[in-house]
């Protein structure tokens, strides 16, 4: 039987960590783009668009991420496509992320005083222009902290991709555990690596938030 040293375990976990990071980045950025589009729809004052986003958000915030992964994984197959855990994980995490980011950002947009909308519309700016030039520049300032904070949730969310067979940090941990029978060591290391990824972001988010509160 193959023998694994501590360093073998650690290096294998770190290699898998790359995939956790890649998946997190893709989910976060794609989710951010989708989220921004949804944000425009959600605040558009066009009833149909608002309703669509509301239901979208309700679904992705009101069901387990794990279920979403399953649905994408098996849903893609229904269309006769080859199912890859990679595609299912990317799609599910993107949509899930976008729903949360939209809600976070909507809160920031709504924190901007009504007078800003009124002043900008009295300058004949269109809705898109109001958002682009007046509202978003102000809202983005207060959005940074909760957005960074949510990136931690995205990283932790990618751990669920392991369940549909995507080999990232958690899946690697499970595989190494099966090979080495050293669950305490393996899962401690897995937890530690996640902590090293997430804690700096949590800390940074808190710092920005604190600074904003002082500034106000």
């Amino acid at each position: 039987m193959l023998q694994f040293s501590f360093w073998d375990i650690l290096s294998n976990l770190l290699i898998a960590t790359q995939w956790t990071i890649v998946l997190s980045l893709i989910a976060f950025f794609c989710g951010g783009i989708v989220g921004l589009i949804l944000l425009f729809m959600r605040t558009s004052k066009i009833a149909a668009l608002e309703w669509f986003t509301k239901i979208y958000i309700e679904f992705f915030q009101g069901t387990p991420l794990l279920m979403q992964l399953f649905l994408f994984f098996f849903g893609i197959a229904l269309f006769g496509f080859e199912v890859s855990p990679w595609a299912a994980a990317t799609l599910a995490l993107t949509f899930w992320t976008s729903a949360f980011l939209t809600e976070i950002w909507r809160g920031c947009v709504e924190a901007i005083p009504k007078g800003q909308w009124e002043a900008s519309s009295s300058l004949a700016l269109s809705y898109i222009e109001q958002m682009r030039y007046v509202i978003l520049p102000q809202a983005s300032r207060i959005a940074v902290a909760p957005t960074v904070g949510f990136s931690v949730q995205v990283i932790k969310g990618t751990a669920l991709a392991s369940i549909i067979g995507f080999v990232e940090l958690t899946k690697a941990g499970t595989m190494l555990n099966n090979a080495t029978f050293r669950p305490f060591l393996v899962y401690s290391l897995v937890a530690l690596i996640y902590f090293c990824l997430c804690f700096p972001l949590s800390w940074w988010a808190k710092k920005i938030e604190g600074r904003l509160n002082v500034a106000r």
């Binding site: 069901t63 279920m67 649905l71 958690t170 669950p183 899962y187 937890a191």
Partner: protein, 220 residues
């Protein structure tokens, strides 16, 4: 699309799914109550307790908040037996949930406590109340009122997160869905149904908590 969704094939398994749903509900209720108790104690320790205890609690909170729930669950279920602590699937699931919600609610409740004006605490102290009496009668009530919405959202997030306990074979709704899927191979239908059940549960929990909040905090 040639595929036809066939929900009828789920019918024979209704009792399995219902059992899973009940398990998820009980798991959520129990871990909510216990988790908030842990969170209250943790928050009290961080704000009113001795410094060393506050630091211990802070480490607990950060460790939990910065690692995925599934890893916490695996650590408890697979890792702890290596230290001689063998837990059943169900016990491990409940324990992981309580520990998880405990950490989040510690942080939420702490924020609520810190939002209580210092003057109220001093007023309580100057009325000869002890620190703990002030905490109990003056601070916590106000703090909970303030953070109730945040705590409610967290409860729902944790409820949805509980789907993961199926991975250690704790028999929750997701486990039931997996089981049914493995029998009739109607994966998509089963998971869609389960997802909708979770959605319904989330909506129900939200309105229930809202109503409960109105009753508890009716006084203004």
């Amino acid at each position: 699309m040639s595929y036809k969704l066939q929900f009828a094939e789920l019918l024979p398994y209704w009792n399995v799914l219902l059992y899973g749903l009940a398990f998820t509900i009980v798991l959520t209720v129990v871990s909510t109550v216990a988790g908030i108790a842990v969170g209250t104690a943790g928050a009290a320790a961080r704000t009113f307790g001795p410094g060393w205890l506050g630091r211990v609690v802070a480490v607990y909170v950060e460790l939990i908040r910065n690692t995925p729930f599934i890893v916490q669950l695996f650590f408890i279920f697979f890792g702890l037996p290596a230290l001689g602590l063998k837990l059943s699937e169900t016990t491990a699931a409940f324990l992981a949930m309580v520990i998880n919600l405990g950490a989040y609610s510690t942080e939420i409740i702490r924020a609520g406590i810190e939002a209580v004006p210092k003057g109220h605490i001093e007023a309580g102290l100057s009325l000869a109340m002890s620190k703990w009496e002030v905490l109990r009668h003056v601070v916590l009530n106000q703090a909970f009122r303030k953070i109730y919405p945040a705590l409610s959202s967290q409860i729902i997030i944790v409820m949805l997160g509980s789907a993961v306990v199926s991975q250690i074979s704790a028999e929750d709704l997701t486990y039931a869905a997996n089981f049914v899927a493995s029998r009739n191979f109607r994966n998509f239908e089963v998971y869609l149904l389960a997802a909708l059940a979770y959605l319904l549960l989330a909506l129900l929990t939200r309105s229930l908590l809202r109503a409960l909040g109105r009753v508890i905090f009716k006084a203004r």
